[in-house]
């Protein structure tokens, strides 16, 4: 382990802790917004991990967000389980979903992979939307708990930032581990990887489950944050939002998702408050961003020399 790693880990921990503590000093309004940003940062990072490391572009990542939300909300609202157990069951449900859908999807590549993930998420959405006796249907699940466990917005924001930081640290650890190399290898050159002895589908499945579980954690945290669950949480709209975040954040590293989430959540929030025709404005901004910064915000920072390599390779340059 190199010196720089130790250093960057401490730096990451210090920044995360600082951010979490800073949450406690914010006004309630901005703390709520920060919580949303943090949750979407995790969700987008998990998708960015799948895309940029695993080489798998998913159009159905919201399935796991939705399963995380409903795994939690159904356990709490319909099964009457204690909240701590429900919080564990949320990501677990997403993980199970990722095992099932991942096993089907990794048999395909490219746009066919993407379309099968879309089909899987639409099936999840439809079940949540139509099986209203169990899921509440379009009316969702509401009033089964106080939003944020009744914690103040600031405390919940701090908690969310801490959990998201841990999850992102976990992703960073994976990227620097043997598994991370395997995922990148299979993502980039599946034939080469197979000819070296990797089982591409198994490695891809593991990547799907990791990304799905982290998306599930984001979904559970969102459900707790809102105190509800709606089928929209598994809808294609949330997937598209995350895809946009991954791209404007920078298509190379997973942490681009963090930048993307910060920018896109704020953009969507304030543009839609300021303009009647907010969709038009956002559409124009997206085109401008893609044409002007095709490498996203992470790429921009790199160009400006504000960031190290977009892809931590495990060793620094000599």
């Amino acid at each position: 382990m190199s010196f720089e790693h130790v250093q960057s880990r401490w730096l990451f921990a210090a920044v995360s802790l600082g951010l979490a503590v800073a949450m406690l000093m914010l006004g309630p309004g901005i703390a709520l917004l920060a919580t949303e940003v943090a949750i979407m940062a995790l969700f987008a990072s998990s998708l960015g991990f799948l895309i940029n490391y695993g080489g798998m572009v998913s159009f159905g990542h919201a399935a796991y967000f939705g399963l995380g939300a409903y795994g939690f909300a159904l356990a709490a609202a319909k099964l009457g389980l204690p909240l701590w157990l429900a919080v564990v069951l949320g990501p677990l449900t997403a993980a199970l979903g990722a095992v099932l859908f991942g096993a089907l999807c990794v048999r395909l590549t490219h746009i066919y992979f993407a379309m099968l993930t879309l089909a899987c998420s639409e099936i999840v959405f439809t079940v949540l939307f139509q099986a209203y006796d169990y899921t509440g249907g379009d009316n969702g699940l509401t009033n089964f708990m106080a939003p944020r466990f009744g914690l103040s917005p600031q405390i919940y924001a701090a908690l969310t930032v801490a959990i998201v930081a841990l999850c992102i640290a976990f992703l960073a650890r994976i990227v620097r581990s043997p598994l991370g190399l395997a995922i990148q290898a299979v993502g980039e050159e599946p034939h080469r990887a197979a000819a070296l002895g990797f089982s591409p589908r198994l490695v891809q499945l593991v990547a799907c489950v990791i990304a799905g579980t982290l998306a599930g954690i984001a979904g559970t945290m969102y459900s707790v944050f809102q105190g509800n669950a709606f089928p929209d949480y598994a809808g294609v709209g949330i997937t598209i939002d995350a895809l946009v975040m991954v791209v404007i954040g920078g298509v190379k590293g997973f942490y681009g998702g963090v930048f993307g989430a910060i920018i896109y959540v704020l953009l969507k929030t304030f543009v839609s408050r300021a303009f009647t025709h907010w969709e038009l404005v956002i559409g124009l901004i997206l085109i401008a961003v893609v044409l002007i910064f095709p490498t996203g915000i992470a790429g921009l920072l790199q160009k400006l020399g504000l960031s190290r390599t977009a892809r931590p390779s495990g060793e620094q340059h000599p």
Binding site: M1, R173, I174, R176, S177, P178, L179, G180, L181, A182, Q184, A185, E188, E189, H191, R192, A193, A194, A195, L196, G197, F198, S199, P200, V203, V206, R311, S313, G314, E315, H317, P318
Partner: protein, 254 residues
């Protein structure tokens, strides 16, 4: 050589739709030999390599035995783990990973650490990988992304990755294609030297006849999906029919 053959392919067939790519190929490799596979374009050389590597499924009635084991129908990764490694005609390395990480990645399957999330398991591979990288003459670019390398260096790297799997048989699909004359020879020398050191059996597809005659123990000539001739370089060199199919279809090899 009285030892058991290491690789035996019998009646290997392969069809794409109506097109017969391989029409019953037989090939036997003795341990430690260096076999060249030559023939005009479209003879089925790359398809045959792909069948041996498991990238292509074999046709009905075909068998491939490796060290006495039937491997026909096995998946690429199973074949690789048994000890048959290959390079690709179009160079395939992990372009976004550093040279060192390419080699460390290649070391993973044989170390059984593919699914480890411990960084220690990765750093443990650094020094053996670095030794290999230096041995390949890539020490100065060890930390550069593979995509920044020259074609020759990428080919060295791919060869190094393949070696890292500790293969018993190495399939090289046009290892020197696209390179300059001097570079070809030095690359080939490097490969042959490593193969001899690790007692690796080589099967290489090659268009450069000069390279073929210099480095092969035996030569197999393919044409239209079949074995056309087989023998020592001297035998093949004296075979006028071989020269005919070559010159007739392809013109002089560059």
């Amino acid at each position: 050589m009285s030892r058991e053959p290491i690789l035996v392919a019998r009646n290997v067939t392969k069809q794409y739709g109506g097109f017969v790519a391989l029409g019953g190929v037989d090939l036997t490799l003795q341990p430690g030999e260096r076999r060249a596979l030559i023939g005009p374009n479209g003879a089925g050389k790359s398809t045959f390599i792909a069948v041996l590597g498991g990238q292509q499924a074999v046709g009905p009635g075909s068998t491939v035995h490796f060290a006495g084991r039937d491997i026909s129908g096995a998946l690429p990764q199973e074949i690789a783990r048994l000890g048959i490694a290959r390079t690709f005609q179009i160079n395939r390395v992990f372009r976004r990973l550093s040279v060192l990480d390419n080699v460390r990645t290649a070391l993973l399957p044989s170390n059984g650490r593919v699914f480890s999330v411990s960084e220690r398991h990765l750093t443990a591979l650094t020094s053996p990988a670095m030794t290999m990288v230096t041995g390949l003459g890539l020490g100065r670019v060890a930390h550069d992304a593979a995509e920044t390398l020259s074609l020759g260096d990428r080919k060295r790297l791919e060869f190094g990755m393949v070696l890292a799997t500790r293969p018993k048989v190495l399939l090289l699909d046009e290892p020197t294609a696209g390179m300059g004359l001097n570079e070809r020879r030095s690359l080939m020398e490097l490969m042959v030297e490593h193969a001899a050191r690790d007692q690796i059996t080589l099967l290489f597809v090659e268009h450069d006849i000069d390279i073929v005659f210099r480095f092969a123990d035996r030569i197999t000539v393919m044409s239209r999906g079949k074995i056309f001739a087989e023998g020592t370089p001297a035998e093949i060199g004296a075979n006028s029919a071989v020269q005919d199919i070559y010159l007739g279809t392809e013109g002089a090899p560059s």
